[in-house]
């Protein structure tokens, strides 16, 4: 497993908002060690049985947490992320959708300067099944096992996780890096963690049209990752020049097509599945190979 485990303590920024409180409840129900919420002006109160603080600094100091998950509105996200970072956060999971990309870029610059980790924005979060869930992923469809997953998509990740789980293939950790063009963790950073993770035997990479992150990941895998990788690319039938839901999912100037990504993977010797169920099939085959090796 990577990034989070059963000992990970989390605070929730925006814990008393509609979305924040709903998912605080779910995370706690899943077993995540949610140790505090942060809502300025509501310090001293409680939500779902956990204490609410006015500032991240205070929350970190009182709880010993160094991980924060953020549910604040888009225009407040840069400030919330900076607050967590300057308070000493080592991992920030930024769920909020619709953050202006220049704000995201400013946050990313600070994260890099401090050597911290940022997942998101506009992401479902991260789960180490059976140990810790941070974000909005539906915990029930995941189970513990040897498959590491990294994905730019939310519900598509659930679809594929479901296919794996129903095929008896559990997951080590599943990272939803988010669908925005400017974001913290990308494929390479997640892959660099999975490749050295003892529990992860096979890696599933879920991509989509837009940008060149998949092509770069293919090159990274070829050069650095010995473990088998199975890829899936959404948007093979997407027309050029149109934004397909995600801010980052657009074929522009002939760049970012599914075809280019699939070719890059195949060239790097990575199997590309055509359907979610085929992902499960390829992973099952890879797992058997690993077992034989």
């Amino acid at each position: 497993m990577i990034l989070i485990n059963k000992d990970t303590k989390v605070i929730v920024q925006g814990a008393t908002g509609k979305m924040g409180s709903a998912h605080t409840k779910r995370m706690i129900a899943y077993g995540t060690k949610v140790v505090g919420g942060v809502t300025p002006g509501k310090g001293g109160t409680k939500i779902e049985g956990i204490p609410v603080f006015d500032t991240v600094k205070e929350a970190f100091q009182a709880t010993g947490a160094t991980t924060s998950v953020i549910f604040v509105p888009p225009f407040l996200a840069l400030d919330a992320g900076s607050e967590a970072l300057d308070a000493g956060a080592e991992l920030i999971v930024l769920i909020t959708e619709g953050i202006p990309p220049q704000d995201a870029a400013k946050l990313v610059a600070q994260v890099k300067a401090k050597g911290a980790k940022l997942i998101g924005p506009n992401c479902p979060g991260v789960i180490t099944p059976g140990e810790c869930l941070i974000g909005i992923l539906p915990g029930s469809i995941f189970k513990s096992g040897p498959v590491g997953m990294v994905s730019r998509s939310g519900t598509l990740t659930y679809e594929i996780a479901l296919a794996l789980t129903e095929s008896g293939l559990g997951q080590s950790t599943c990272v939803g890096v988010g669908g925005d063009p400017i974001k913290g963790m990308g494929y390479e950073e997640a892959l660099s963690l999975f490749k050295d993770d003892a529990k992860t035997e096979v890696i599933v990479l879920i991509g989509e049209i837009g940008g060149t992150a998949e092509e770069e990941a293919a090159a990274y895998i070829k050069a650095n990752v010995k473990k088998p990788v199975v890829a899936y690319i959404a948007g093979q039938t997407a027309p050029p020049g149109k934004r397909m839901g995600h801010a980052g999912a657009i074929i522009s100037g002939g760049k970012g097509t599914a075809q280019s990504k699939i070719e890059a993977f195949e060239k790097a010797g990575i199997k590309v599945a055509k359907t979610p169920s085929e992902v499960a099939k390829f992973v099952a085959e890879a797992t058997k190979q690993v077992a034989r090796a």
Binding site: P101, V108, P138, S153, T155, L156, G184, A234, H246, T275
Partner: protein, 375 residues
Amino acid sequence: MNLYEWEAKKIFQEHGIPVPPSHRITKPEELRKVHLGYPLTLKVQVQSGGRGKAGGIQFAQDLKDGETKAKDLLKMVINGSKTESLLVEPRLKIAREIYLSVTLDRSRGCAIFIASAEGGIEIESSTNVVTMPIPYPYHDYVGRDLAKQIGLTGNLLNKFADLANKLYKLFESKDLELAEINPLIVTDGDEVLALDGKITICDDALGRHKCFAGWQETHMLDLSEREKRSKRAGLNLVELDGNIGILCNGAGLTMATMDLVKAFGGQPGNFLDAGGGSDTEKTLEALEIVHDNPKCDVILVNILGGITACDEVAQALVAFMKRHPERKLVVRLRGNNQDVAEKMLAESGLKLYPELEAAVKQAVEQSKVPAGAKR
């Protein structure tokens, strides 16, 4: 949101970036009030590239010539984009053309300058192009480094650097996705001017820029009615040519569903991502938008509820079926409150498919049955 050239240039000017003198006209006869001297340049204002190649830029020798050309230009449609107006400028003597833009770079996760000592080009297919990551916080030396990198010297280096710094400050202060000057020209009198300009404002940031309030409605000229409706409802719609309307939650899942439809021999009629956590009302509006597309014979709904509650979706489906009992509907619904949803829909007589691939196969089959036959 893409701005027209005339809007971009107005904003450039407000931020200290020099542009040629100009007039905007919407009728040929307005040319009589333009006193910029001849020859004039007439440029169609459209939200599409390839304007020059399509003949959207013409030169007028005199008023009569201008009026004739303006009449034709105002009727132009380029790549489906209608001409909104004409921008009229004196025809300038150009000593040199340069390319300059600021945008965001995905791989680096930061803003970048793109520049080239050759302007008026298609930057994507050009070779002599410099890209430079922009540090945060910004410093003015960055403009000078850029000027140097594209090989400028002397006075021009300083003038270009000043302009690049202003362009970046505009980009940052107005939350742009793209600020492009192509070409930036040096006139024979050593003036540096933005001859053409393109600005894309980040839609997500519009809420914090009062100066653009209401602009979104006036910049949807090229969208279909259904696309406009989706935008207003917070839905992501892209219309396609097939006959299977697709409604899912989540962009990746919607694309994957489209791909499956195609893989199983069907033709996707649209991409509609209802987003996370859609309630009954939003889902119903989404259904209505897909329903309104006359090309669609079947609607395929694929909801994998993480945040989305299945019972909310089911309620929307029940209401939709009451309004449009004839509409072919294939529904895959899974996740939160799935049991409640199943019960509700069983009462309405709608079969649910828990497996995605089974649902897609069914939708493709239905799409090949002549219209009129009910689900």
